[in-house]
C-alpha cells in the first residue's frame, strides 16, 4: 500500500493531532479541540479513535481493537484490517500482547500495563451536553468548574428511581478538576480508569475533541455520600467460562425466552476457557443443556 502514507493520515494532520494529545495529557480530562478529518468510515464508527490511533502507532506496535469487548464484531474487524493495510502493523486479539488497544465502550477485563496505550472511541465527549446543549455554555461551566447541574441530574435519578440509574457513560471527575465523560463504557469499568498504568487517550471524531488520562491519574465517579457509586453488572456468571468477575452481555438464544450471559470481553472469556474453566452452558460442561449456542455477532447492547 505505498500509495498511503504510514497509518493513513498525512503528516501535517498527525502533527496537529499529536499536539492535541500532548495538551490533553498535560490537562487531564480537558477536551482539546482538534481539526478532525473525514475518515473512510461513517461518523459513529470510531473516526476519533482511528485518528488518535493513527497518530500514536509506530510500525513496531501490535494493535488490538475491541468493540464492546469483542474482537470479532464488524467495527473491530474493519478497523483492525484498516491499520493492517495502511500501517502494516501487526495485530492481535490477545490483550496482553497488544501495545495499542483501540476500544469502543469497554475497558479490557485483563489489567493493562505501563507498556500499553488504550484509545477510546467517543461519540459525545461533553458530559454536560444532554444537560446544556450550547457549547459556549458548557465551555464556560468547565472553565468555572460549575458542575452543579450534573449533581442535580444524578439527584433526580435518585428521586425518581431510588438509585443513580445511569449505567453507562457515568461521569467522572479527573484530579479534582474536570468532569469528564468516560465514553459509553459501562459503569462497571469506571473504577479501572483511575490509577491505570497505561496511557488512556479519548478521540471524538464528529465532535472534534481529544482528551486524555495520563497513567496513575485520580479518577473519581461522581456520587453522593448516602448514595455512593457502585460498579454494577448482571448478577450471573458467564455461561461459557463461568467467570463471576467480568462484565456480561445478555444474549437471547431462541424465541422461547432462552437467554444466556456471556463475558463481553471475548479475549478474556476465551483465555479462561483455554485454561480449563467452563460455565453452565458451555459444551464442555457435562451437565449442560443439549443446545448449541452460537454467540450472535451482530448483537449489541
Amino acid at each position: 500500500m505505498t500509495e498511503y502514507n504510514f497509518a493513513y493520515l498525512d503528516e501535517q494532520t498527525k502533527r496537529m493531532i499529536r499536539r492535541a494529545i500532548l495538551k490533553g495529557l498535560a490537562i487531564p480530562g480537558y477536551q482539546v479541540p482538534f481539526a478532525s478529518r473525514e475518515m473512510p468510515m461513517p461518523y459513529g464508527w470510531g473516526t476519533g479513535g482511528v485518528q488518535v490511533s493513527a497518530a500514536v502507532l509506530t510500525p513496531e506496535d501490535r494493535f488490538k481493537v475491541i468493540d464492546q469487548g469483542a474482537d470479532d464484531t464488524t467495527n473491530a474487524v474493519s478497523i483492525r484490517s484498516f491499520f493492517e493495510r495502511t500501517a502494516g502493523v501487526a495485530t492481535t486479539t490477545t490483550t496482553s500482547e497488544a501495545s495499542v488497544i483501540q476500544t469502543r465502550h469497554r475497558v479490557p477485563e485483563e489489567a493493562l500495563t505501563e507498556d500499553q496505550i488504550l484509545v477510546y472511541q467517543v461519540p459525545i465527549p461533553e458530559p454536560l451536553r444532554f444537560l446544556e446543549p450550547r457549547e459556549s455554555e458548557t465551555r464556560k461551566m468547565h472553565s468555572l468548574e460549575e458542575y452543579g447541574l450534573m449533581h442535580v441530574k444524578l439527584y433526580e435519578d435518585i428521586a425518581r428511581h431510588g438509585h443513580i440509574a445511569t449505567s453507562y457513560a457515568y461521569p467522572v471527575k479527573v484530579e479534582g478538576r474536570y468532569v469528564m465523560d468516560p465514553s459509553p463504557i459501562p459503569k462497571f469499568d469506571n473504577p479501572k480508569l483511575g490509577n491505570m498504568p497505561a496511557i488512556q487517550l479519548f478521540g471524538a471524531g464528529r465532535e472534534q475533541r481529544i482528551y486524555a488520562l495520563p497513567p496513575y491519574t485520580q479518577v473519581v465517579s461522581l456520587d453522593f455520600e448516602d448514595h455512593p457509586f457502585e460498579a454494577s453488572k448482571a448478577d450471573h456468571s458467564c455461561g461459557l467460562c463461568g467467570a463471576t468477575d467480568s462484565y456480561l452481555d445478555e444474549v437471547i438464544t431462541d424465541d422461547q425466552g432462552g437467554r444466556m450471559f456471556v463475558c463481553s470481553d471475548t479475549d478474556y472469556c476465551e483465555g479462561r476457557r483455554a485454561a480449563g474453566f467452563f460455565g453452565e452452558m458451555s459444551a464442555e460442561n457435562p451437565s449442560a443443556p443439549t443446545m448449541t449456542t452460537q454467540r450472535n455477532l451482530e448483537f449489541q447492547t
Binding site: 502514507n5 504510514f6 497509518a7 503528516e11 501535517q12 498527525k14 502533527r15 496537529m16 499529536r18 499536539r19 492535541a20 494529545i21 500532548l22 495538551k23 490533553g24 495529557l25 498535560a26 490537562i27 487531564p28 480537558y30 482539546v32 479541540p33 497518530a55 500514536v56 502507532l57 509506530t58 510500525p59 465551555r139 464556560k140 468547565h142 472553565s143 468555572l144 484530579e175 478538576r177 474536570y178 498504568p197 496511557i199 486524555a212 488520562l213 495520563p214 497513567p215 496513575y216 491519574t217 485520580q218
Partner: protein
C-alpha cells in the same frame, strides 16, 4: 549551497516522527521519566532531541520562538526548510526553544485562557544534563514519586499554581527527552536521603 542546513531532517518522516512522538508522549504522560529520541540532526546549538521534537510537532501552524543562542541563521534556515514554521516572539509562540536562562522569564508566554487552557506555549528547554534526581515530582502520570533535574523550582511551582492554565515543558539533552506538564506538583528534593 546550503546543503548543511537542508540536511539533517527525518530520513523517513512518517516512521521517524512516529517514534519521536511516542518518546515525547511517554515523557509527557510520565513526568520524571527520561526517554530516548532521535531522527533529526539539527545545526548547532540545537540538540538532536530538540530537533526531533521540533520536526515532530511543528509546521506552518505553529509559531516558534528561538530564544538566545538557539537563534542562529543556520537554525532558522533549517527550520524553514524542514518545518516551514513561522518565527515569532514569546508572546505569540506555540513552541519556544532554548536554554533555560534564555527562555525565562516565563511571564511572556501564552498560558491559555480559562475556556481554552490548551492554547498555551510548550517550552523546549535545552539542558546540559538530564537525570532522574533533583526536584520531587508528584501528580498525574506518577505512580508514587519521581524526580527530575530541573533548572529551578519556583518557576515550576508558580506555573502549577495557574492550573489548568500554564506552560508545558519538554527538557532535551543530547538524544534524550523528559517532560513536565503543568499538572505536575514540584517540591524541593529531600536532601541527602534522595535516592536517584
Amino acid at each position: 549551497m546550503h546543503a548543511q542546513t537542508l540536511s539533517g531532517g527525518f530520513e523517513t518522516p512518517p516512521v521517524d516522527s512516529a517514534h519521536a512522538f511516542r518518546a515525547v508522549m511517554e515523557a509527557m504522560a510520565r513526568p520524571g521519566q527520561i526517554k530516548d529520541i532521535s531522527g533529526a540532526q539539527p545545526p548547532a546549538p540545537l540538540s538532536a532531541a530538540a530537533g526531533s521534537v521540533l520536526l515532530t510537532l511543528c509546521d506552518t501552524d505553529t509559531p516558534i520562538y528561538l530564544a538566545g543562542d538557539a537563534d542562529t541563521d543556520d537554525v532558522r534556515a533549517w527550520l524553514a526548510f524542514h518545518t516551514g514554521a513561522p518565527l515569532t516572539g514569546p508572546s505569540q509562540a506555540m513552541f519556544a526553544v532554548g536554554r533555560w536562562e534564555a527562555l525565562v522569564p516565563l511571564q511572556g508566554y501564552q498560558i491559555g485562557t480559562s475556556e481554552y487552557p490548551d492554547r498555551s506555549a510548550t517550552l523546549i528547554v535545552e539542558c546540559t544534563e538530564l537525570t532522574t534526581s533533583g526536584a520531587n515530582l508528584s501528580g498525574p502520570g506518577i505512580k508514587s514519586r519521581a524526580a527530575l533535574s530541573l533548572p529551578e523550582l519556583d518557576a515550576f511551582q508558580s506555573n502549577r499554581g495557574l492550573f489548568p492554565l500554564g506552560l508545558d515543558f519538554i527538557f532535551t539533552c543530547g538524544g534524550q527527552v523528559a517532560a513536565l506538564p503543568r499538572s505536575t506538583i514540584v517540591s524541593a528534593p529531600e536532601g541527602a536521603m534522595e535516592v536517584s
